[in-house]
Amino acid sequence: SPEVAEYALRLGDDALILAQQLGMWIARAPELEEDVALGNIALDLIGHARSLLHYAGTASGRSEDDLAYWRDEPEWRNAWLFEQPNGDFAHTIARQLAASVYLFELYGALMESTDPTLAAIAAKAVKEVDYHRDHATQWVLRLAGGTEESRRRMAVALNDTWPYVDELFHDDELVARLSDAGTAVLPSSLRGPFQEIISAVLVEAELELPTGRTAFTASGGGREGRHTEHLGPLLAEMQVLARAHPGASW
């Protein structure tokens, strides 16, 4: 149905935009092991994105590539967290922590979806994002417990990233209807488990969530196609070649 398609699009866009960003690290990571690790994570996410976009497109006869390459910015449905820039490695890790813990909870719950396609995608994805979660957690611990410099950077990165966490748990009419039907997971239902895991990581890292005057909460709006100033240039680069050759196959 178009509603399930829209839901799959949200999930697929989250995965694809994050994969696109992580792909930028390849050949630029702090050590070769991280070129490999971030590449693996990006590959997993592209895999999720392809399944989800493929499914989202079936309702309207569009392919995964039609959706990835031929939608303009207001047609994208990813949450803002995923389009936040890589920043330094600490910022990438802070974004990975929030994203992977959220996705782990999401896919874990979505395995129970009454929609067999979504349930199957989630069942595969949950194992992979569990690894992503572990990767992010280990790095948060290392950076927080490493040097003074790394601890400072990790704290700044948390502060810069956390404004975008709130949006992940926004419900709207669409997800409310779909979750009533057992198809989708109600975002707000994930906030508790998310918070619990994050708290445990931060306790171990001896870090705290941002407080004070620069502890903002971004309004969000990605699910309705409103985006931050980072998505436009990202899409321009991602889509440029495909759009230069309409109808071509690669």
């Binding site: 390849i26 990571a29 490999v36 490695f89 495909a242 690669w250």
Partner: protein, 311 residues
């Protein structure tokens, strides 16, 4: 001495030398140079391809390309490990690379202006690498030979992917076909240069062959490569940019035009399209990542100290 005698015997029997075995200093140095150069080539070789990850024209191609570049990081890791068994650290090797004291394959000093370069690199550069590397699986130094076995498997996969990219382009629009032919035109000669200078100007080869590091001469490998390309180019429908290229029944070899070694030497001397870019970017990644590596080391040290306390 006894060490030398054992070494000579192992070489004579075409057996493997292992890290703890005695080996001549020249053998060790040659291998360190060759393996680290090979590792550096994998690492620097990630750059021309990573250039297209963000712009890959389909999600499938994006995934394949990411996986490939990531494999290269993995190959770099195996190879640095193999070199480390000879008594050099990864830090020393990385330092040699970013200060320009170590070489990497000159082919990666070329640029990738179009998507078709992803195909041409796979087909031609990985193809040439395989011709070079398959015999290295039998290299007398154990860790290197074993690393090569693993690497060669993935490389041939990469070569096929490159071939597929070109095939898709050659079956596509007029613009796509032109893009493919243009990339082949640009990469063909540099890929032939990957085998190194002609045999009569390759002074180090004899010793490497005596040590069972190298198994075939540069020109032999180059011929083998061209022999592989010709039928594949026909399947693709691309023209190899050498008007003189043809099978010579008499010599049992391909006739080909003279290679422009001046160009090769220019690039080797640091005057290629991307020498500066390649080193700059590697240095920046290394420098930008320093605080992360320091943090990881400090954290590991603290954890170790904590465990020692507990124990």
């Amino acid at each position: 001495e006894a060490g030398q005698a054992l070494f000579d015997e192992l070489i004579a029997r075409d057996s493997r030398i292992e890290p703890r075995d005695w080996m001549p200093e020249g053998y060790r140095k040659t291998l360190i140079r060759q393996i680290s150069q090979h590792a550096h080539s994998e690492i620097i070789g990630m750059q021309p391809e990573s250039n297209w990850i963000t712009r890959a024209p389909s999600l499938k191609r994006k995934a394949i390309l990411m996986a490939k570049v990531q494999d290269e990081a993995g190959h770099g890791l195996y190879l640095y490990s193999a070199a480390q068994t000879l008594g050099i650290t990864r830090e020393e090797m990385m330092d040699q690379l970013i200060t320009g004291r170590a070489r990497y394959s000159s082919i990666f000093n070329y640029l990738t202006p179009t998507w078709a370069d992803m195909g041409a690199i796979g087909w031609l550069v990985d193809g040439a690498a395989i011709c070079n590397q398959v015999p290295l699986c039998r290299c007398s130094y154990g860790p290197y030979g074993r690393a090569m076995v693993r690497i060669c498997k993935e490389e041939s996969f990469h070569q096929r992917q490159g071939f597929e990219i070109l095939l898709e382009l050659m079956q596509g629009t007029e613009e796509q076909r032109e893009m493919a032919q243009d990339a082949v035109n640009r990469w063909y000669w540099p890929s032939l240069m990957m085998f190194g200078p002609p045999d009569d100007e390759s002074p180090n080869s004899a010793q490497s062959m005596a040590w069972n590091i190298k198994r075939f001469s540069n020109d032999e490998l180059r011929q083998r490569f061209v022999g592989m390309l010709v039928p594949q180019s026909e399947v693709l429908g691309v023209t190899l940019p050498d008007p003189a290229l043809r099978w010579n029944e008499e010599t049992g070899q391909y006739d080909m035009s003279e290679i422009d070694w001046d160009e090769f030497n220019e690039v080797l001397a640091g005057r290629g399209p991307a020498n500066a870019e390649r080193i700059r970017r590697r240095r920046e990644a290394h420098d930008d990542g320093a605080w992360v590596r320091e943090a990881a080391a400090a954290y590991a040290a603290k954890q170790a100290a904590r465990q020692a306390e507990v124990a």
